[in-house]
Symmetry: none
Subunit: 165 residues, 2 copies
């Protein structure tokens, strides 16, 4: 009762991410087999890939059709905020939408650059409700704020308690 019932898409996402972890960030799947396993339409797999394994989130998806067909998912990690900053500078202009910003923040979190609380904090800032401005000013402000937040994280000593041991 406390947890929301996960959607099928959520389950497939978790399944694939677990596979990725066990396979060092690189897996190949058969669309039909996976669909059969979850008892859904094959196109559902595409939906999951399109919404949860995007480039913004740090994944690359290639595929091949026909006999011997496959879908390959590769995860790219941002191993440090330094990298993240560079990536941010390159890939993001002066404008940034909320989904783009969230994807970026979540990615930093998944890659261990941010604690869950820091992720929550940054997502709160980037929310379109918080940034009560008309477009395109809102997207501009969001981009500026995200840059500053990443910079702040960069300049502050990592708070990784685990490293102390």
């Amino acid at each position: 009762m406390v947890k929301p019932m996960p959607s099928l898409s959520d389950e497939i996402e978790v399944f694939l991410k677990r596979m990725l972890e066990e396979a060092a960030g690189r897996v190949e799947i058969r669309r039909q087999r996976l669909a059969a396993r979850f008892g859904c339409a094959p196109s559902q797999i595409n939906y999951v890939l399109e919404t949860r394994f995007t480039v913004d989130r740090g994944y690359s998806v290639e595929s091949r059709r026909g006999g011997r067909g496959y879908i390959r998912i590769v995860k790219f990690s941002l191993s440090s905020p330094e990298w993240a900053m560079e990536y941010l500078g390159d890939r993001i202009g002066d404008l940034l939408t909320q989904p783009e910003a969230e994807a970026f923040i979540e990615r930093l979190g998944e890659d261990g650059c941010l604690s869950p609380r820091e992720v929550a904090l940054m997502k709160a800032v980037v929310d379109r409700e918080a940034l009560a401005l008309d477009l395109p000013y809102r997207d501009r402000l969001r981009a500026a704020l995200l840059r500053r937040m990443v910079a702040a994280v960069l300049s502050c000593p990592p708070v990784d308690d685990r490293a102390e041991q």
Copy 2:
């Protein structure tokens, strides 16, 4: 002598707060189901949330639409100092200057509610350079952002999120 008849909104408020108590300050509901239970329009639920489960009262609310949608209500950690709640309620008006915001953030940090990085993050957001707006919009935005940041952090898992391993 006689208490005013409680409105439907009051009843829903009580109901939700009881749920929160039983669930350690974190519940997820279906808007339609709850509305059906009280025999009211679904939007009534939004009204209750907007008027009674606000940040300055110590709650944060997130939601998701579409299939398997939900509304999640989280009551701030009880460990957050009382003065902070008071601050959220009264002292932070609709307007907030940079020094005021920084003082608030630093004090939260000193009280152990925020890590040094979280302090740095929040200060970066609250900086007048980041909020490139004219007054009084800037002070208004700053107040809104601070509220949201505090809500995000205080409603996120216990302060030491790293102990999970």
